[in-house]
Subunit: 426 residues, 2 copies
């Protein structure tokens, strides 16, 4: 992505680092943009980011589910459910009900036609009301089904995709079962967190007796861009994250790496994808005591511009062969090297994660990190080999710990009249 305005300097030398505060510079650009009536809506001060309206609606139905290549919204609420009924009919009824509610809420409507006040005084309101007055905020709701849903409870065993195998144990995984797994996941993304929370809450509410919340995660800031129209945001290590992410506009790359094709696996999920979720606690106190040179060695990029250490600008190509004397410029254990398509025989995934901060850990530290979400066409052939490589070798492992993990298969998008998970029942 280039900067058409020329106002954002994406290269930084050590000398330049001593100059004007980068943040102040960006801030000034943002203020100018605000006065000019553009760029102010997104809460980012860089001029390259386009404005969006909180009122924008993302289409609910289509070939693929929304919330995958949709330009990443600013906030997220993610929930995993355990199905508590043993009745296939009750589960199907819930999925039908959820579909109607989800379509309404993504359109900026209340969860039900009568809503928070329309049913009258003598029944519990059918919408919880906290989104009254709030716009659609680009809400997307994306559903996925975990491996456990395909056990013998509902007769789905024959529908189970081959690639929906539980993820293997990765070195140094320290997974909390209470933050892992789940029969069904719903990812709510929106530009207003109250809209995302409202959506999950109302879906969870009507699930009473059929499914219950296993775990949930609030993400306060996106850590990836999924469109060339978006700036690259920063994660809590302070680095730009997802520069080399797959972008929605690269439709060939998306088709090759994200969407399941006919013939890949179960016919019911053609046009779908797989969702990998990993709650990655960042040991920010250790990180913050590390010198800048080491941080940049670990990541393989410059902290200021996001440029690979082998280049000058953020979107310069990774040159893994570049040397300084006898040493590689990008360390052999650098995160960008180990996660790169070059290193992994062409593997690419679509990252769509969020920063989180969940209070404190009881030891004087913030419980903060990255809620990693990736979409891919086959997790066993994409995420697993990538994470095996990272978990064994990534220099970043000294500063992170994977504490939650889940895998879900996401069905394709819905045509008119279809409901979530219909392919499982027919």
């Amino acid at each position: 992505m280039t900067d058409p305005t020329g106002t954002t300097d994406t290269t930084t030398t050590v000398d330049e680092r001593k100059g004007v505060s980068r943040r102040r510079l960006f801030g000034a650009v943002g203020a100018g943009a605000a006065l000019a009536g553009a760029g102010a809506l997104v809460g980012r001060a860089t001029a390259a980011e386009p404005p969006f309206s909180h009122a924008d609606v993302v289409a609910f139905r289509g070939e693929h589910q929304a919330g995958v290549v949709t330009p990443a919204q600013d906030r997220m609420h993610f929930v995993a459910f355990d199905v508590t009924t043993k009745s296939r009919e009750e589960l199907e009824a819930l999925l039908k009900k959820w579909t109607v509610m989800a379509e309404r809420m993504t359109a900026g409507e209340e969860a039900t036609p009568d809503g928070a006040i329309g049913d009258g005084l003598y029944v519990p309101p059918s919408d919880t009301g906290e989104a009254l007055g709030l716009a659609a905020s680009q809400l997307t709701l994306t559903i996925g089904f975990g491996p456990s849903l395909f056990d013998d409870r509902f007769g789905f065993a024959s529908k189970k995709p081959a690639a929906l195998e539980e993820l293997p144990h990765f070195r140094a995984d320290n997974l909390d079962p209470a933050r892992s797994g789940g029969d069904i996941a719903i990812q709510a993304c929106a530009n207003d967190p109250q809209v995302a929370v409202h959506a999950i809450r109302n879906l969870a509410r009507v699930a009473f007796g059929t499914a219950s919340v296993r775990w949930s995660q609030l993400g306060f800031g996106r850590t990836s861009s999924t469109s060339t129209t978006q700036d690259t945001p920063r994660n809590l290590f302070g680095f730009k994250d997802g520069t080399n992410n797959i972008k929605a506009e690269e439709t060939d790359v998306v088709d090759e790496n994200v969407w399941v094709a006919y013939g890949d696996d179960q016919p019911w999920m053609a046009g779908g994808t797989y969702l990998v979720a990993r709650r990655i606690r960042m040991l920010i106190e250790q990180w913050d005591r590390t010198v800048l040179g080491e941080q940049e060695r670990v990541i393989g990029r410059s902290k200021g511009s996001g440029a690979p250490l082998s280049g000058k600008a953020e979107f310069d190509e990774l040159d893994l062969d570049s040397k300084k004397g006898h040493d590689p410029v990008i360390d052999v254990d650098a995160h960008v090297r180990l996660a790169s398509a070059q290193e992994l025989g062409g593997i690419q995934i679509l990252r769509r994660g969020y920063n989180f901060t969940d209070g404190s850990d009881g030891f004087g530290h913030l419980d903060a990190g990255l809620f990693f979400i990736a979409y891919c066409r086959n997790p066993q052939e994409q995420f697993v080999p990538m994470q095996l490589n990272l978990s064994r070798n990534d220099a970043m492992n000294e500063y992170i710990q994977h504490v939650g993990s889940a895998l879900f298969v996401c069905p394709p998008g819905l045509a008119e009249g279809q409901y979530w998970g219909q392919g499982l029942f027919t």
Copy 2:
């Protein structure tokens, strides 16, 4: 507050409830406002709310601390510290360092002059970097000191204000010590959550060895307006919250109820205030199964418009004597009655709370609620009698549980050259 545009209908009858979706109506208004270039910045779809720029800077120095009557920003990160040093000098040095950093960050600058990349490769960066490129976002940082800071460690016993007594036990309190108390609190509010989190993280970071995080809380949506320029937001019960809140524009009311005057107490804190924080878990599943009439009886207001049950529009005055037959229109145990100035002999407080959702509780429910923050001139004469009344009688108690509590004294604002807590050391 009246609605000058006339587009927002603030009265609702049972008949009207069956009409157009309220949310849709509001959404349409918001979209129109966005096209007209106003009202879109705040993520609220009602036309009455003014635009703000994420680039806006709130002045750090002044007669009073910012973040009290400052129009409530959309997001919050609140932290309470335990001071771990026994050295008065180290504590003073930290407060001086914090002051410099806080002033810089509220101006949209990095925490330090050299920042995330300006120190060079061979030292740990002095700013953690995740706010690079983000604007000031109306960040305010507000400091307070807990009763425990005035023990015998630092020689502050003679400086302790009389009103800084630990809060009494209130009926049904179920307080978690790990979410209560603290020697020092810092409230960070901003319109971009990453800016608020960045500020708290950098302040916590430099406290290493002097103070450590005791607890922290992220709030995703404001639940009060503190200015007549703001719409009343909704809490997670789906009701408008804080309609009768003190507003910054009512300067006489603010002076009478929020700011400590000379002669009230310790001279060092004139111009200051007290901060009461209560983490209030909402039992949203119970609430959501309650009929609308009961919800409105418990609150004392109409869910749609926010009007008191004795009136027609949100800002109609509470008429506590209004009767329907022999029964009071506003129930004797209604929350608005028990918390009203009329009921409490004129007591008013400035509420400035936030909605929270912190994952799940392990029992299939969302851990959600209200992080209540109140500012008042004397907590023993304002918050304590109010909460005694509420904790004994409030019909809402069936649906909430107070699980965290803390009280802090907030010093006055800073003149040029002054630092946080200077009044304690001189």
